[in-house]
Each structure stands twice: as C-alpha cells, then as structure tokens.
C-alpha cells in the first residue's frame, strides 16, 4: 500500500478521465456550471469509495461467475441511495444533473475500478483508491466547468457562489456566480454540446503534452546522470 503513489495515480498519471479515458459522458454533459461539476464529482467520489470498500470486503465470498452481476447490484444500490438523498436534501442539484445521477451506475469508472483493483486489494487500499480516483475525476470536472463557464458566459462559480450580498457560498444552487466579463461577450456555444466535446478534447491533448514532456525530461535527466557517471568513471 502506497498512499502517495495512489494519489499521484488518481490525480495525474492514471487519471480516470484524462488518461484512462472512461466516464466521459457525464464529464461532457453536465459541466456547464461549477455547481453541477462539484456536485457530480463529489457524488461519484462518495459512490466510488463506498462501492470500493464493500466490494473489497466481499471479494472473497462472491463466486467468480456472477461477480459482475453482484458488482452491478452493489453499485446500483449506492447510486440510488445517493440519488434519493440528493432529491431530499439538495433538490437543485438533483434537478440540474437529472438522469446523469442514476446513470452513474453505468459509469465505467466505478465498475472498472471494481474489476481492476478492488477484486484483489485489501479494504484500506480500496478506500484510498476510491477517494483519490474520485478526487481526480472531480478535479477534471471542475476544470471543465471553469473553462466552459468562463469562456461561455463570462462567469465563475455559477450556482455555488453569490456576490450580490457580500461573498458567500450557496449550497442550494441559487447563486449567480461572479460575472468576470459581460455575458454577451462570451462564446455561448461553449455551453452547448459542441463546447463539451471541444473542451475535453483540448484538455486531453494538454495532458498528453504535459505527460510526454515530463517523460522526456525524466529521460534527459537520466541520460545526463548516466553521462556524468561515465565521465567520473573515466576520470
């Protein structure tokens, strides 16, 4: 178990959306305001963590032939629980996300982690994996929301922040956000489906560029170290 490594994996090197490239439907569909993004990200984080723990706990007693069916039942249960709780306590969020909350059931992130990770690992590691992978997912959603909302409507933090009466956080989704430039100057097309595809595409490209660069840098450093070593040996 290596929490630090798991953290980097979840956030960067094995990020669910940008690197594993799964769970993209919701990533593109609901990232129009910061409120939606944070809400969706946290919902997935909670569901993923719960499912990871439960599946890891029962991994030894479930028969292999029907493990997928059982994973699906466990996931659907937690998704419905979160769905009901959101409807009861954060109705604005459940309305904004609509059908995408129940659709977390078929979000490949959760079943993917269950199959690839929780089947073999102890509870502690699975718990951390759920938190870190969920966190990585949330961060991507937040980046998408911030970019699309800012360029599309000139706003930051729609639904989550209200500045009309001093700065405060609105957890019921009513805040209008901070208007950075007039809405009519924004490219409202970024709030439409087109913007979802484009923003995610560019984001993945930036990630690939960064990963490639850091790899090259590492390789260059290793080569340099090697060269220096050889030099020392020569001397």
């Amino acid at each position: 178990m290596n929490p630090k490594k798991q953290f980097t994996e979840g956030l960067i090197t094995n990020n669910p959306v940008l690197v594993q490239q799964i769970g993209m439907c919701a990533t593109m569909a609901i990232t129009t305001t910061l409120f939606n993004g944070v809400g969706m990200g946290l919902s997935v984080l909670i569901i993923l963590t719960c499912c990871n723990v439960v599946i890891s706990l029962i991994r030894k007693i479930i028969p292999g032939e029907i493990r997928l069916a059982i994973f699906v039942v466990v996931i659907a249960t937690f998704v419905t629980i979160v769905d009901l709780l959101l409807q009861a306590y954060v109705p604005a969020l459940s309305e904004a996300l609509g059908v995408f909350i129940p659709l977390i059931v078929v979000n490949c992130i959760i079943i993917g982690r269950a199959e690839a990770f929780c089947q073999k690992m102890p509870v502690g590691a699975c718990f951390l994996d759920g938190i870190f992978q969920g966190f990585g997912y949330t961060v991507v959603l937040i980046i998408m929301c911030v970019v699309r909302e800012l360029l599309g409507a000139g706003r930051f933090g729609g639904g989550l922040i209200d500045v009309s009466n001093g700065f405060r956080f609105t957890l019921d989704g009513t805040g209008a956000g901070i208007q950075i430039f007039p809405e009519s100057y924004g490219a409202s097309i970024l709030s439409l489906p087109f913007g979802g595809f484009l923003t995610l595409g560019v984001l993945i490209a930036v990630m690939q560029y960064a990963l490639k660069k850091s790899e090259l840098k590492k390789a260059a450093l290793a080569e340099q170290a090697k060269a220096e070593e050889e030099k020392e040996e020569d001397e």
Partner: protein, 195 residues
C-alpha cells in the same frame, strides 16, 4: 397519437440526438468508431437492445414497480434487466441466427455498460411515455446512435490522414472532430416539429 410518434422519432434521431445533444453513449461511440463496418455493427446492436429494453422495462416498471409502489428500485431493476437481456440476446442469436451473432457478437457484452440504453429507459419513465411511445423512443434513439456513430466513423477514417499536433493523438483529436459533427447537428435544433 401519430403526431406524437413523429415528434418523438424526429427528436430522438435528429434534434436531441443521443450522442450529440444528450451525451448518452459516448464511451462506445468513441471506442467503436475506428471503422465504418464496426461502427455499423455496434449501432445495429444498440438499436436492437434499446428497443427491446424500452419495451421490457416499461412493462416491468408499470406492472411491478409502480403497481407495488417500489419506484425507488427503478435503477437497480432496469440495469439488471438490461444485463440479463443482453445475455439472452447473445445466447439466442448464437443458436438461431449465427450469421447475425458473428456480426454483432463482440459488441453485445459492451452494450450493458452503454449509458444510452439505461438512459433511454430512465428517460421513458421521466417523460411518462406510454408503451408505444417508449418503444418508438427506444428504437429511434438507437437509430440516432447508429446514424451518429456511422457518420463519425467516416469522419474518423479521414482524420487518420490529417496532419495534427502530436499531443492530439488518440481520443483528443476524436473529441475535437466529434465537436465539429455536434456543431453540424446543432443545425437541427432550430427545426420546428409539425404538430
């Protein structure tokens, strides 16, 4: 009745296309659109399963879940029905229509986690469609998916020869091209539905 069916069909295929406007089913859409042939196979399988799932889930929802006041089990029941359905369809095709099975075979298991299928079933409930409307929405939603994935596969076959920055390699360039196709589909959103 007829006008509502036309409205639902046009909406599902063009105006509110499952992929380009509702983002349902993006994973197989991006994963299986390398070649026009595979895209067509996947699309056909989806039309088939979405239609069947809509019909079966409507019956289960209406006569079991709603009748017993168990609406909170919808998500759980639907996903189990879809998973079982996909299994049955696979077994049935293997035995009775082997030619279709060999064409669709490898795509069938993937459909269970296609969110367009669970999505259409949940939307049927949300929109309070009756049996016929649900069935039509399921099938035409699938046709919308088929249209989108085949169109996009042809675009992708061309993109392969394009010259783009290296860091866009893979899904990134796909998403950017998908964005452009979505832009084209936005043209339909102005379409008035004749009632």
């Amino acid at each position: 009745m007829l006008s509502s069916i036309i409205e639902i069909s046009l909406g599902a295929i063009l105006i509110n296309n499952f992929i380009f406007s509702q983002f349902l089913g993006c994973c197989p859409f991006l994963g299986c659109s390398n070649k026009v042939d595979t895209a067509f196979g996947m699309g056909l399988a989806v039309v088939f399963v979405m239609g069947l799932a809509s019909a079966i889930c409507w019956v289960i929802n209406e006569y079991i879940l709603v009748a017993l006041g168990l609406e909170f089990l919808q998500t759980l029941a639907f996903i189990l029905v879809i998973a079982a359905l996909v299994q049955f369809v696979e077994m049935f095709l293997k035995k009775s229509v082997p030619s279709l099975y060999s064409a669709l075979g490898i795509y069938l298991p993937l459909i269970t986690t296609n969110c367009a299928v669970l999505g259409v079933v949940l939307l049927n409930v949300q929109n309070k469609y009756n049996f016929i409307e649900s069935l039509v929405y399921g099938i035409t939603g699938g046709i919308g998916f088929l249209l989108a994935i085949v169109l996009f596969a042809s675009v992708r076959e061309r993109v392969e020869f394009a010259d783009y920055p290296e860091c866009f390699h893979g899904f990134a360039i796909c998403l950017v091209s998908a964005a452009l196709v979505a832009l084209a589909f936005m043209g339909f959103s102005g379409m008035a539905i004749p009632v």
